[in-house]
Symmetry: C2
């Protein structure tokens, strides 16, 4: 068995366990059991419990970044790009619910120790948004009145909050697709008539 196999088996197990119990309530033995591995084995691949979370975070966000960047290459209209980004972000909720839950929840749960660790992968992810906005401003589609730095966080925050609704609510009142459409419309056109 290749090293990466066991490493990723543990990561996948951790995603499941963290999603169901939360980081602090998850026991190493839960993860080990889920991964069908001895408790001690986990420490051959990770330094400690935090390290599992951080690695997981970086690996999985890394994959998402690659995916969405690929998708965005197909489209040149910044408005459409924002829609694609929103839809792709929300689609995670359908396709990888546990992962979405961990990324969403633990990003906050771990604020305290994330202060120390420079979360470059996360920054890279939201910088995709500011790049779209910047480009839109350059070619005149978007107003230059809005700072891309603020808008990227507003848009990410909005998406993230919608995710929270899906995670907490068994029967969310909107479809993912409608939500992505409404959000991109909101951010492009605004509320005003």
């Amino acid at each position: 068995m290749r090293i990466s196999d066991k490493h990723s088996k543990i990561t996948q197990a951790a995603v499941k366990v963290f999603a169901h119990k939360g980081f602090f309530n998850a026991r190493i033995s839960d993860i080990a059991k889920e991964a069908k591995v001895a408790d001690g084995t986990i420490y051959l691949y990770f330094n400690n419990k935090y390290d599992i979370l951080i690695s997981l975070f970086e690996d999985e966000i890394g994959k998402i970044i690659l995916q969405v960047k690929l998708l965005l290459e197909e489209e040149s209209d910044p408005g459409q790009q924002l829609y694609i980004f929103a839809l792709h972000h929300l689609k995670l909720l359908e396709e990888k619910k546990d992962l979405a839950e961990v990324l969403q929840m633990e990003l906050r749960q771990s604020n305290k120790f994330m202060k120390e660790y420079r979360n470059t992968k996360f920054i890279e992810y939201i910088d995709i948004i500011s790049a779209i906005i910047h480009q839109g401003q350059e070619n005149g589609d978007f107003s230059k009145d809005i700072s891309p730095g603020i808008a990227k966080r507003a848009i990410f925050g909005a998406l993230d909050e919608m995710s929270r609704l899906w995670i907490l609510d068994e029967n969310p009142p909107y479809t993912l697709d409608d939500t992505a459409k409404q959000l991109s419309r909101l951010f492009l056109q605004g509320l005003a008539n």
Copy 2:
């Protein structure tokens, strides 16, 4: 000493300790020490550790709701109301940093147990936003294309994410006032030119 005095002394101490260490890393003895009270005393006023967090949450959000509703009564233009709401939300970061941090972080940290507990105070808070939007739509200021239910979460999410920036970053690149202005402009006018 009135009951409420000790109760609120413990609450204030808990805010400080939770903000600095996070809920799971906070020890009851830390809170007791901060409140200058014996460990056991805390259990005369709260059922358990979770109960401190939940009570704190409800009490403090309750106060914020009252404040902001009062402020909003002064203003009838929905666009201005959104600005006021945003500014008031962000101002918490200056005026009560610890509280803002706890509300922000613990709202997520506690997702897992919040699933069980219907967080009505939080819903009441974000429903202030949808009420503003609804009213704007009624009087024709706002487009009816946007669902108030989605917009309220988008706006709250955006504010919340900006808060996160302030909490994690020692020197945020924007002022609170600029941020509130930019956000309300973004939500009213959108990005499009």
